[in-house]
Symmetry: C2
């Protein structure tokens, strides 16, 4: 049972108060696949890069058992590049440049062998492309979809069409307010679920995340981090840990979905500890389990003696 | 063993998108005392009002077993009045007016019988007045202190002097960042605890609260509320539920302090459901226990089958 991940693969140039890096590995599909790879194998990545995409990155992804059959490498094109700079308050960032390059004409093509994929994670790319992917998958059991403010602003109709076809929708709190024009997150969640997705996750950065499934509302804490080296990719990594854990456990009970949210948060906490994807390239299962247990400590208050 | 509560007693005029009310009961000491009264009796309130303070409010407070021996009623003066207006986004409010009146020359005098109080809650008033209170209490065991951005801006030196004498400091996230000039809350918490208080609570409104005690970090969820009628007093009510529960249980273990944070959050969730103090005037212990249990549901993710 395949786990299909679609999204961007990019070369990121990132500046934080701590350091600066050029042409580092980035992109939503990259972070999602890496995070999911700790739970499921293989993860099938669908994306596009140019012929300048470093072989070392290919090698690292393959070593993490990420299947790149669906990664198009366009000869003579350059890879999608994004540059951003984080402020002293890491919640604030400026985009310095966006060069679409090979991504500009991206037409996601799902290899024949993957059209029967049951778990699909639509990383943050245009909702028109996300719809194109779903049209090629015959009978998905769980479709997880991420988005961003840009698409809410410029492609809202496509996004609304897409939302009717996804099971789990992940977005952050400011995006939820933008999409619904409702400042109360609990009300906003109700409105968004009426748009289609039965399961909704609102990410709140340093404040954790809210999960809505059935009648369950779950408030997940954030991992208390004193030093965040690079917030880039944290949301994608969350989505990857989340769907990876669900794909591994095949259990969509509210209880297990809650745990998947915590595994998503666990992976995101590792992601931000290092630049680019470095924080999630080489983790042990013990490290992941230990951090999962720290989340229990942070949030439990009714433990017996 | 007395529980002493010091702070403002006010008449509030509040406008929200839902309703409008004039001269309703308000003030930090009022909310704290009411919330604490569900756990401990009597609660001893220290404050000041004018001779226009409605007898009905006195009666209601006394019916909740709040001892008003320390409430000064200044003949010929008017009661402190505050007017505020909340926006569509209830996180945003404008102060319309502040009339100090009787509060302008408030000199908190602790009655002889209360100078041996062991539990003291310093509600939000100037840190100079909070220090004056502590100078009159001979041997407090637990001093809980609240503050606001105003005092950080105009009386920072007094506040820093005060912080050396308190055990628990409660403030909100924007105040923590303001006090330390540090955008990362975990780092800010470390800096604030170095200023004196061994226990620190950072309130985050709709995102819950963070508790720091010993090596323990605890992330408390917020109660998911679709409709908030009036956010006024929520922070004070939190402090009241928190110290009331600790005063009742006499247990300062991290485990019990976590529970106190949840009881504080529980009381705050009732507070905002109605205008002014109405939401916390007439609760049953069963209602409080049931909501406490809902907090367990909202935040637990590792329950066994």
């Amino acid at each position: 049972m395949s786990l299909l991940v679609v999204g961007s693969v990019a070369l990121d140039s990132v500046e934080t108060p701590f350091d600066k890096i050029d042409d580092a590995l980035g992109g939503s599909a990259t972070y999602i696949s890496l995070a999911a790879s700790y739970f499921s194998a293989p993860v099938n990545l669908i994306g596009v890069v140019g012929s300048d995409f470093p072989k070392d990155y290919i090698k690292m992804l393959e070593q993490r058992n990420i299947d790149l059959e669906g990664l198009q490498i366009i000869e003579g094109e350059k890879t999608f590049r994004w540059g951003g700079k984080y402020h002293h308050d890491l919640n604030v960032r400026d985009t310095l440049f966006t060069e679409l390059n090979a991504f500009e004409n991206f037409n996601p093509i799902i290899p024949e062998s993957l059209k029967k994929a049951r778990y699909v994670c639509l990383g943050n790319i245009g909702p028109d492309l996300q719809i194109k992917v779903l049209e090629q998958v015959s009978d998905p059991q769980l479709v997880v979809c991420d988005t961003m403010n840009l698409w809410i602003n410029i492609m809202k109709q496509d996004l609304l069409k897409l939302l009717k076809k996804v099971n789990v929708f992940i977005l952050n709190d400011s995006e939820a307010k933008l999409l619904t024009e409702e400042p109360n997150l609990i009300k906003a969640a109700k409105l968004i679920r009426k748009m289609g997705p039965e399961i909704l996750i609102i990410k709140k950065g340093e404040h954790g995340a809210l999960l809505f499934t059935g009648d369950t509302i779950f408030s997940a804490p954030a991992y208390p981090m004193e030093i965040i080296f690079d917030p880039t990719g944290a949301g994608d990594t969350f989505a990857g840990g989340f769907i990876g854990y669900l794909h591994k456990t095949r259990d969509l009970s509210p209880k297990n979905i809650k745990r998947a949210v915590i595994y998503g948060s666990t992976m995101a906490s590792f992601c931000v500890e290092k630049f680019s994807t470095k924080g999630i390239e080489d983790l042990s299962h013990l490290q992941i389990l230990e951090r999962f247990r720290e989340f229990i400590k942070i949030s439990s208050f009714n433990e017996s003696d």
